[in-house]
Symmetry: C2
């Protein structure tokens, strides 16, 4: 079965110790504890090509810490750094992602999502007062009204409409030239996954769809924390009416064309998304059906 990018973290999240002050204190004092090495929000890649870990001794003690989890009973932490800008568009992050083993990419993604969340929840949305980290980094609590805030993950639908053996792919103007991917959009309050898939395809491409089949999912750690839910939807026609504020172009492709794109064939009609993106896994699954 498929293993989409950013899945497969080997860490035990150890939910049970997050609220247990004594057990958590023991982890913080554990001399075997490892802290994830970051360069801003980017991963530091070790000489061996994996994530770089250092000891607690390298911290100055003022950092907010997040318990990422345990591996062989060894605690793994990351310190909250100030998150600014949009590092995903930087060449460094792409280079690092192409080098990291899948398990390390999953750990990095979790850390990055949590760091960004802490940066954006330093104040209580309900009363405006400062919040404090609690639950071993898996929450923040308001110092004034005591409201508890938990790390946010936004569900996103990402999908291929399918019609007479062809699949619909589109491109945003910010994509590199020739790149096409599955359509995608945020799920909104009050709709199911299936309803969000149909709404997004209709909004972006003017295509009406019937049945929706879920394929697989992945966490996506850029621009926050997203749960990408990949689906295939049965289109009821192939006429396109594009919302050009969302997508610059869209086209129906055959399985042969998608296969050539995934393989990077020299005569490919378009460039496929990179392997760590679930759109890649989704296209691969569709081609194999």
């Amino acid at each position: 079965m498929m293993s989409p990018g950013f899945t497969g973290s080997p860490l035990d999240r150890a939910d049970r110790v997050r609220n247990d002050a004594e057990a958590y204190g023991a982890l913080l004092a554990d001399w075997r504890a490892r802290v994830l090495g970051l360069d801003g929000l980017d991963p530091r890649v070790s000489d061996a090509g994996g994530l770089h870990w250092h000891s607690m001794a390298e911290l100055d003690g003022s950092e907010e810490l997040i318990l990422l989890g345990l591996s062989d009973d060894k605690p793994h932490f990351v310190a909250v750094v100030e998150a600014t800008g949009d590092a995903f568009r930087s060449p460094a992050i792409w280079r690092a992602l192409s080098m990291l083993p899948a398990e390390d990419a999953a750990i990095y993604g979790t850390a990055r999502s949590l760091i960004e969340w802490h940066n954006n929840h330093r104040f209580c949305g309900r009363c405006g007062h400062a919040t404090l980290l609690f639950r071993a980094g898996w929450g923040r609590k308001c110092g004034n009204c005591a409201k508890e805030h938990f790390p946010r993950t936004d569900p996103v639908v990402i999908m291929l409409a399918e019609y007479e053996g062809k699949a619909l792919v589109g491109r945003q103007s910010r994509f590199p030239p020739g790149n096409y991917s599955a359509l995608a959009g945020f799920l909104e309050p009050g709709e199911s996954m299936e309803e969000a898939v149909r709404r997004e395809i209709h909004e972006e491409a003017g295509v009406t769809c019937g049945a929706v089949r879920y394929v697989t999912s992945q966490p996506w750690p850029f621009g926050g924390s997203q749960l990408m839910m990949a689906c295939i939807a049965d289109a009821q026609g192939d006429a396109l009416v594009l919302d050009t504020t969302e997508i610059e172009d869209a086209m129906w492709v055959t399985k042969e064309e998608a296969r050539a794109a995934l393989e990077g064939a020299s005569d490919r009609r378009f460039n496929a998304p990179p392997p760590f993106a679930i759109a890649h896994s989704l296209l691969k699954y569709w081609v194999s059906q």
Copy 2:
């Protein structure tokens, strides 16, 4: 195919007009506009058994408004009210939900999720300053740092572990006596749906699972806004180790026992969740397989 509760809203969300000041102004001035009638956060049920709608004339003009969508080109709004307490546990809401047609329950759920979100995002989580409603109620923007905040939906996994033809159901201490449901829990940053399903079953019941099959989803409008993703997971054994801080009891049930519960048979072993809960749809699907 199944239609889980709170799905099937007939409203066109009309995303295209949310950012179009002129088009949105025309909707606000439309004499045919309807505003959802609420009693606090509870729905007001009309004599005909549906949602109650009133005209814009009944507002005092100071309300924050959300555009729920269009039906026959008629705009449908809801005003943000102060949301307090936990109305879901009130008998009034259960009574209303048992009366409302499915389409009305879907509209109500959307409205309720958005109202709660506005109440909890009156201040910017990044800088602590006051936010202002924008995008026709589908966002808030910080008056200081200009950060845009969008309605939150939390992905939740809800699932049956399956072993040798039996399914695992559990109960929380707050459930009515005899009630059992599917296990459930919030998906965390850095995990896929499938990983969250396996983690939650292991945390709550000590059962290790392999393959996970997605079944269906529903939006859930109580205690915020959740996307319930219903799955069935293949258990690798049936020995239970319960986390009694999460669930009070759990048991393996046969399809005959689940069917009797869904039908409310007098000799049923347990009480099933109500029809508008996706756990009901999930049990029904499992029994039919």
